[in-house]
Symmetry: C2
Amino acid sequence: MKLEKAAAQLEALGNPTRLQLYRILVRAGDDGLAVGSVQGKLDIPSSTLSHHLKRLVDTGLVTQERQATTLICRANYPGMNALIGYLADECCADATCAPAASKALV
Amino acid sequence: MKLEKAAAQLEALGNPTRLQLYRILVRAGDDGLAVGSVQGKLDIPSSTLSHHLKRLVDTGLVTQERQATTLICRANYPGMNALIGYLADECCADATCAPAASKALV
DNA sequence: ACGCTATTTCCATATTTTTCGAAATTGAGT
DNA sequence: ACTCAATTTCGAAAAATATGGAAATAGCGT
């Protein structure tokens, strides 16, 4: 994982609306969720939602798949895990990282 | 961990310069690093560095401690772990999270 | 082809972020 | 008090982001 990519993903998640959006997709699981359904849950204009979604897709945190007229969105778990791995790796490079939490990631 | 706080921390790390800065502090370990030393490694103007550092401190990812005229900066490991925990928690809320990695965090 | 629904793109604006020189501040040490 | 070094604050300009209305597009079903 390159620093630039990690930063882009972190920035993508670093917006309350997008973090909430991502969380909704995570909750939806493997079935994913149509853009319209997400919109219903977030109650924001479709154009705004589309912009945020694009950001998440572009950074590799979300994938999309067409099903007829609707677009199914899914959280990209491996992508998130790579990011978490990157952070944990940084965090524990020094081994003084307090909790055993991220060590389990190694 | 509240969504707002998580988003603020993610946004703070979501800037290449700040992520690099944070990484430098992580590498420095418990001894921490003076602002001036960090500046030497990053080669950016002090005022710019100060702004970035403030952002990391404000979001709780970095702590600072005065030692005479120099300010020692340290990565806040527990803070980072809380963030990683939050992300992992989100990621695995659905249990379809592919790798076993973040499961170990629970 | 037409109509319908879902979603995106275009465009424009308000806000926030990034950047950094210059000036101010802080805290020894003398 | 004075000076030097370290760091922050001020002020300001350029760039990026966030937001959303309106128009365009895509893809069925008829």
